[in-house]
């Protein structure tokens, strides 16, 4: 076979259709499928929830106050119980999905993008730039996030955009430091030098060769940060700095339910569960992505159920 010079035209290099392959790989991991479906549901809630359920979620009814869950006589949306003002928890959770997702996704994405970009620069650019960026990260890291929140939200008013800003700033260092640390190692690898020899621009080396190696780690952090951001947002609300009633987020619902923890557990439990499930779904999906993106691991998904996948 070795020196049989086949007609090049005869050997078509075929590439499978991308989406179909992805879907097949997704199908191979049943947990990831569940996670994806759950996230899609959440996303739909976030987009359409406020449109349809806003009024119901705001409708107080002190007679249904702290109505226990799993009773249907007040209607389907009371299946998870009612809150302290007798508003149906299910409807509130659905409506709150929007703010929650906007804040969490906004903050996580912003910090992920800014942090990892700065980290790539700090790791790959010259000593000086790197040093300045790193010390900047130190400053952010030791600037108490609460103070930052007070400052920004006091001076700029507590809007969602400002909240995202605050949360994003405080999360930048983790991405920055992680990225830089990994870049320092990955840039020494031979394939990076090979790319350099080919004349690849720094940008290309950084984004095409270094970033994919680091990305899985960043994704893992980001998905867990989702939960962190939601809870941090709730802590800010609790102190009176963040998003405030009558706006709702899951975090705010959790913090409002805090005082009823021993008497009406469902007030804090369901929104808390929503946070946990979302985080978990994201994490399962990112685990899946880790495997799917890594050629040496991908077989786990490709050979499907055949061999202990």
């Amino acid at each position: 076979m070795s020196n049989a010079t086949t007609n090049p035209a005869a050997v078509e290099v075929k590439v499978q259709s991308g989406t179909r392959r992805v879907l097949r790989m997704l199908w191979a991991d049943k947990l990831a499928i569940c996670a994806a479906i759950f996230l899609i549901v959440i996303l739909l809630c976030a987009v359409f929830g406020p449109m349809f359920l806003e009024d119901m979620a705001a409708n107080t009814n002190l007679r249904a106050r702290n109505a226990p869950p799993f009773e249907l006589e007040r209607g389907f949306f009371f299946i998870l119980g009612g809150d302290a003002l007798g508003r149906p928890l299910l409807a509130r959770i659905i409506v709150a999905a929007q703010n929650t997702m906007v804040i969490a996704a906004g903050a996580v994405l912003a910090s992920l993008i800014v942090g990892s970009t700065l980290g790539l620069i700090a790791g790959y650019a010259g000593r000086w730039t790197g040093e300045v960026i790193m010390r900047l990260a130190d400053v952010i890291m030791s600037f108490p996030s609460l103070l930052l929140a007070v400052i920004v939200l006091y001076m700029l008013s507590p809007s969602i955009a400002n909240l995202v800003l605050v949360l994003a700033i405080t999360r930048i260092p983790i991405y920055l430091r992680t990225t830089r640390a990994e870049v320092l190692e990955v840039r020494e690898r031979m394939f990076v030098q090979a790319a350099k020899v080919m004349g690849a621009s720094n940008r290309r080396i950084v984004f095409k060769h270094i970033l994919p190696v680091i990305l899985p780690t960043l994704l893992t952090i980001a998905t867990l940060d989702f939960a962190f951001v939601m809870l941090a947002e709730s802590a800010l609300s609790f102190l009176g700095i963040g998003i405030q009633a009558p706006e709702i987020t899951w975090g705010l619902m959790v913090s409002q339910g805090r005082q009823y923890l021993t008497n009406a557990w469902w007030l804090a439990f369901w929104p808390g569960l929503a946070i946990i499930l979302t985080t978990m779904s994201l994490n399962l999906l990112s685990s899946w992505m880790r495997v799917a993106l890594n050629p040496t691991q991908r077989w786990r998904l490709e050979i499907g159920g055949k061999k202990n996948g």
Partner: protein, 304 residues
Amino acid sequence: MKSTLGKRALSSFVSLFVLIVLVFFLSRLTGDPAALYLPVDASEEMRQNFRELHGLNDPVLVQFGRYLADLAQFDFGESLRKARPALDVVLEAFVWTLKLALITMTLVTAAAIVVGSIAAFQVGRPFDRFASVLSLIGASAPDFWIAIVGIVIFSVNLAWLPTSGTGTIWHWVLPISVLFIRPFGLILQIVRGSMINALGSPYVKTARAKGVKNGPVIFVHTLRNAMLPVITVIGDQAAALLNGAVVVETIFGFPGVGKLMIDSILQRDFNVILAAIMVTAVAIFIMNILIDIAYALLDPRIRA
């Protein structure tokens, strides 16, 4: 090595200064401490008097100059509320925080590394699934929720542990357990992911060809290669703890720097805020330097 450390210390000092400037000017934009300190029905005269006493009437630049001059003599000023030197107040609290952070991070690091590594070694098997799900729940559950449920179960119902406070070793069990959960979940995930990658490397095969046992293959050969991101995240979590574990301190009545900082921020007790930030910042800077040293120790290729 020594000279890089020196340079590093110097640049950290510069960032510390930047931090002070930022905090000093920004925090002064967030409201009048006199309005908060004095009762609502206090007269304007009393407010003036209060501002006078604490030098809050001078132009901000003058205040800043004075602050720096005092700082040069390690004088952080008096707390506006407590009639005590701000630094004393902060150091007292910081000792508690430091203890809490050290104990927690030690436990977390050890546990997350062991469990995460084993999970990575057994990807997809029950141990891995179980550890992942449990840690994820932990990492995304509200901490006050865990704290209060913990108190209800272990203190009120079972009466095994004191509800809160300090004193005996038993008082530390609940707070540390609560603090443990989130970083444990996070670090475990990072360890696991990083280890899965590293376990696919050829040098792992070499180790196995040498007849090295699974234990050392995981914990000696692979772990060290997988540690870079892990250390970073450990640092991040430790920094968060050094900045104070607000929820735990509040609920369990732990006199740490987190609650002090929150109270001071809400009360605009500037001197305490600044002193607290300085103290925690120095701790965090030192920790970051240690982390950078750890990078270099771990991976000879990034030793410059």
